[in-house]
Amino acid sequence: MTTQYKMIEARPAPRNTVGPVAWLRANLFSGPVNSFFTLLGLYLLYLLLTPTIQWAIINADWIGTSRDDCSREGACWVFVSARFTQFIYGLYPRSEIWRVDVTFATFAALIAWLAIPRLPFKRWVALVTLVGFPVFAYFMLYGGYFGLPVVPTHRWGGLMLTLVLAVVGMVGALPIGILLALGRRSQMPIVKSFCVVFIEFWRGVPLITVLFMASVMLPLFMPTGVSVDRLIRAFIGITLFQSAYMAEVIRGGLQAIPRGQEEAAAALGMNYWMRMGLIVLPQALKMMIPGIVNTFISLFKDTTLVMIIGLFDLLGIVQAALSDSRWLGFALEGYVFAAFMFWIFCFSMSRYSQYLERKLHTGHKR
């Protein structure tokens, strides 16, 4: 007698283990304590979100040109919209604003090209971004050539200045940081001690002190009639300061690479720069992405300190606008706008770094 085995049709999972209800039960209401905290959390969220949404959206004034258009009790976004151009471009002449747009659109396009994996010629685009673009940006933003009128740096401001400071700081700090990190691990006593002294000095002083020295002390020591542009002072201060931090982040990555990697590379006959550039650094930098992006994000936010040397970055220009007698009393709207802009940029940086980590993941993570 033959027994016929027949597979029973797969049945759906019991109704109480799938679907949103089951998820809720498993994650939010799995016991009396959890249920209590879930309900408490929901209540707190309700308390917090209702007035926020009412203030920011439902009861807010959106359209108008002066403070008289803000009659409702919620936020007065008219203040932000009336000043939007100023918040983004600072005092950049209104007729020349297209130059800023073109510069940042080009930058965004270059970065996008580098970020999207399918596009070809990565190496050339990277070269253009690092070498060609800064020159292009200088001519576009500052002007003075090709019939573009000069826009002196004291008219730069707002989000544009924040981005310029952050990008220059990042592009400058990374290579200097790599060199300092390599130098600190070097066997050569002079190179090593120079790097140690440099890093420890710049890490030992707050950025606000560096900027303050640059604006208050430096002019007194300069020869008469020579004055360094305030923006250049800020560039130098921020870059040197951040490169010291960057150096320590990268040194952490270098420490994590087993000695065998370098020894194996040496056994293949590679010289120092080949060992570092082809074997050690690619592994170290990949591991250091969270740390490097962390430093970049803190740099981006630190740029607000340039306010104390009389440059109006995004936060500075918002604060300056708050003192216009026609718009007194809209501080909250101004600060919320500034915070939101900063959040957008910092959050995108952080998302991109997570994407990069996944993409470069080669099983080294534990």
Binding site: V216, P219, G316, S325, L328
Partner: protein, 343 residues
């Protein structure tokens, strides 16, 4: 202090003076420099409502900035040829000493220490201010003498902080200072209840009061506890430039006294009044002594206005602050503003 310490102190002071004075001497010809650059570089406050604030058309408006416009009108014939350099309260004197700005017009109180040890000269008083107190209305305080044990918000590095401790010590009142860095921070601290009293120059208190969600919830007490003459300052060692800045302000005061305004200045050119004819350059050339053209005062009044107009549109009746002229009225109307004659 021993004899040795005293001498040491003296040497330090002397070398400091030499250093600062030297910096002034080298840059003697500020006027030439201004003409060559075709702009007056003017150190102002980054954010001081009524005195220097950025409007939505990207330009600075206020009493301090109009003083700079007047100088530019006198020297370059165009009131808009000013480059405003926003300065921090700590940084302002260095910027002037090092030549980064040509004139400092940044609600700076004229004190003997600043006038004599910093290598700068104050050229006059553009606004007579005084320190006052603002309290929450519901506190039920009517006079500053009732403030025993109060927490008082002030700003660091200003004369307000020093005046406050002097005033309370003299009157034997205990207080608890809460120090902030900027006016925005101190008003935010006041509104958040970090302190019961906010103390600052009266002009600033009026502006800060308007920033409160409900301006009527605070009142400004009648006591004025200090003299705060605010005025423009220049580097020591360039008397010509000193005269130009000094007389730019005097020209505005004289114009108000003689009734010359922005609107009627062109008609006034034909006036028979010898004072007006001299001021506007129809009789004699009083700009020559300063290296300026004869129409220097005419340009100031035509482009910026007289002192009363400047006061009115920035802080007075024509503005949101509506501060009374008070001490800033002309001497003919019971105030302190007085200018020597042009003769």
């Amino acid at each position: 202090m021993t004899q040795h310490q005293k001498r040491n102190r003296k040497v330090q002071l002397m070398s400091a003076t030499l250093l600062l004075g030297g910096a002034g001497l080298v840059q003697a010809a500020t006027l030439d420099n201004v003409r060559q650059q075709d702009q007056v570089r003017c150190g102002v406050n980054a954010a001081q409502p009524g005195f220097s604030a950025l409007d939505d058309q990207d330009s600075y408006r206020g009493l301090d900035t109009d003083v700079c416009r007047a100088i530019a009108a006198a020297v370059l014939g165009d009131a808009e040829k000013v480059r405003f350099v926003p300065l921090d309260s700590v940084e302002r004197f260095t910027a002037l000493q090092s030549g980064e700005v040509d004139v400092l017009s940044r609600t700076t109180t004229w004190t003997s220490a600043r006038d004599t040890t910093l290598g700068i000269n104050f050229t006059g008083v553009s606004y007579y201010d005084g320190q006052a107190f603002m309290v929450a209305s519901d506190l039920g305080v009517a006079s500053a003498t009732e403030l025993d044990g109060a927490a008082v918000c002030t700003q660091s590095g200003t004369t307000s902080e020093l005046n406050l401790s002097d005033y309370f010590r003299v009157n034997g009142i205990d207080y608890d200072p809460v120090v902030f860095d900027s006016p925005e921070q101190s008003i935010a601290g006041f509104e958040a209840g970090r302190c019961d009293v906010l103390s600052s120059d009266a002009s600033q208190l009026y502006a800060q009061r308007m920033q409160l969600a409900d301006p009527d919830s605070a009142l400004i007490l009648p006591e004025i506890i200090s003299k705060e003459p605010l005025g423009p300052a220049v580097r020591q060692g360039d008397d010509q430039w000193f005269n130009i800045v000094k007389w730019s302000l005097f020209a505005m005061l004289n114009a108000e006294e003689y009734g010359i305004t922005r609107e009627n200045v062109d008609e006034m050119l034909d006036s028979d009044d010898p004072d007006i004819a001299r001021l506007l350059g129809r009789d004699g050339n009083f700009g020559e002594g300063m290296g300026l053209t004869a129409d220097w005062a005419y340009q100031i009044v035509r482009q910026v206005g007289n002192y009363g107009e400047m006061f009115g549109r920035n802080v007075g009746a024509g503005s949101d602050f509506n501060i009374a002229r008070g001490l800033n009225a002309l001497w003919t109307e019971g105030g302190l503003q007085y200018a020597p004659p042009v003769r």
